[in-house]
Amino acid sequence: MISDDRTFRSALEALSPIAQRQLAAQFAAAVLPLSGDTRLQAAITTAARSDCSVAELARLAMMLRGVVVESYSSCGSECDWHAQAGHFAARAALACVQPHAGRSQAWEAAMAARMARTSAAIAAGAGTDASRDEAQQQYRLFAELQGR
């Protein structure tokens, strides 16, 4: 099983676009509970389907971009780490439906999901290993996908 991000990233980049999307959806789903926004679930479920049309993805992308932009911590305001976790969950969901020129969708979703987990941990005053723990989970999910 993969145990470092270098290998992980290369492996993700080698996946087909549909596989990317589906794996991204799984990464995003894992941190969905950290967001209170109900729109994310619909987006993730749709992205996970292999028969999703380009138009549908575009529509979801537009909607999710709005969610991401709304939920940024704005410069100078006190950071609410709970809300920030939700912001990153939205970014993970957006990665599922918006292809990123040059970067793998699954990788984008994985990084955003880890930051969501980290933000939640900061909010809870917990330790600093949230990202590493989430990474381990993501390696497991990837291994399961390969297994199928």
Binding site: G76, E78, R114
Partner: protein, 428 residues
């Protein structure tokens, strides 16, 4: 007159010098400054004329520092600057000005109107008329270490995330290295990609660097609201950290106002020159490029434009580096009209993005950016300021434009040549 108003007026008096006086004496009321200001051009509201925004400062100078003005006051021919006037001007001075400095570029008599606004803000904040959000941000920076309340554990959590992602250990509190890298809260919170990019670039270039646990924040809201004593505290913290660690150079992050504060205003705030150099991250990257230490491969095929953050380009003097860097990684780099020195502000600088009530005005002002983008028609917009980035994304979203925005440092790091087995840094 209340004590705070008196304090405000005293702060204004302290802000008056020969530059301020010369500017007011030279102004011929031609109105060209309005034509350079995005808040005026996109609304047509004459109150947003830059020189009008500083009327309280002008009036105080005229009435107290000129003979005719003093005679006029004595004869009760003129009204003094009072609390009501300061209150009335708050929105003009903060909500409709980002200190972008375009006005200063076009004034035919050579007035630096952005400088006048900065001086006026000293009085406004002392009188209690700085926007609440910004006052809180400054207080948090002084008390907690970051305007957004980022404490060391949060930074450490991000460091762990970045270490996992890059496989590179992030140094902190390492003495006698070449570079102290500062961050802005916005990057710690919203864009961890920035720290990851720094780590990878520094590793490839073979440069020794460090973060500082007592001074990781570069943002200086004190400069933005005009509270020099607090701005000083914030800079001093960085200076102490840098000098204790004996670094040669401090790297200012992508944040625009952090650079202006640290590079150009800092020594005046603390009353002495630094014992280290200050570079903007883009200046460092360009230096590495020139020295052959920044090795990239592949080019982004998407058509790209660069949005010059006002405090970095026009007001900071960093204009060429970003172009050199863009040409390294963008096969189709097109300049926005008026790019570089005369670029139009994103609308969120100077603390503006922290003012909720200014949101509608900001979105209206964004129309000028929209026109720039329509003219150049890029597929990706690149910039080098976390606040610009978010303000741009908000504006794009509001105007239903589909255009990704990325940070330049991140973009460069994406194209770094992958070195073989990553070495664990032995600077532990």
């Amino acid at each position: 007159m209340s004590a705070t108003t008196e304090r405000g007026l005293n702060a204004l008096r302290g802000a008056i010098n020969s530059h301020v006086a010369s500017y007011f004496a030279s102004c011929v009321h031609c109105g060209l400054c309005a034509e350079a200001c995005l808040f005026y051009t996109e609304t047509g509201d004459p109150r947003y004329t830059p020189i009008y925004k500083v009327e309280p400062l002008r009036r105080l100078w005229q009435q107290e520092y000129t003979l005719l003005g003093r005679i006029g006051r004595w004869l009760r021919l003129t009204k003094p600057v009072d609390d009501a006037m300061l209150e009335k001007w708050q929105a003009l001075v903060y909500n409709s000005c980002t200190l972008c400095g375009r006005c200063s570029m076009v004034c035919p008599v050579g007035n630096d109107i952005a400088y006048l606004i900065r001086q006026l803000r000293e009085g406004m904040s002392a009188a209690g008329y700085a926007p609440t959000g910004m006052v809180d941000a400054t207080r948090r920076t002084v008390e907690v270490g970051s305007p957004m309340g980022v404490r060391l554990p949060a930074l450490q959590a991000q460091m762990r995330h970045v270490e996992a992602e890059t496989g590179i250990a992030i140094p902190i509190d390492q003495p006698d290295v070449e570079y102290l890298v500062l961050l802005s809260s916005m990057e710690v919170i919203n864009f961890p990609e920035y720290l990851a990019a720094i780590a990878r670039i520094m590793q490839q270039a073979g440069k020794r660097w460090t973060l500082c646990s007592t001074a990781f924040e570069a943002t200086n809201a004190g400069i933005q609201i005009g509270q020099s004593d607090l701005a000083r505290t914030i800079v001093q913290r960085i200076v102490d950290g840098a000098e204790q660690l004996r670094v040669k150079t401090v790297i200012s992050p992508e944040c625009g106002h952090a650079f202006t504060a640290l590079r150009w205003e800092g020594p005046n705030l603390i009353g002495r020159p630094y014992r280290f150099e200050v570079l903007h991250i883009l200046e460092l990257l360009d230096q590495l490029r020139r020295d052959g230490l920044l090795r990239t491969e592949g080019m982004a095929s998407a058509r790209m434009s660069f949005h010059d953050p006002c405090q970095i380009a026009r007001r900071g003097g960093v204009i060429e580096p970003q172009r050199n860097l863009m040409k390294m990684v963008a096969a189709d780099f097109v300049e926005l009209p008026d790019a570089g020195r005369m670029n139009w502000c994103c609308g969120g600088g100077g603390g503006n993005s922290a003012i909720e009530e200014a949101h509608p005005l900001r979105m209206q002002a964004f129309n000028v950016k929209k026109r720039q983008l329509e003219a150049a028609a890029p597929e990706t917009l690149v910039t080098a300021c976390a606040n610009c980035r978010i303000t741009l994304e908000e504006g794009l979203e509001h105007h239903h434009l589909d255009l990704p925005v990325v940070g330049l440092t991140e973009l460069i790091a994406d194209h770094l040549i992958c070195d073989p087995a990553p070495e664990v840094s032995d600077d532990q």
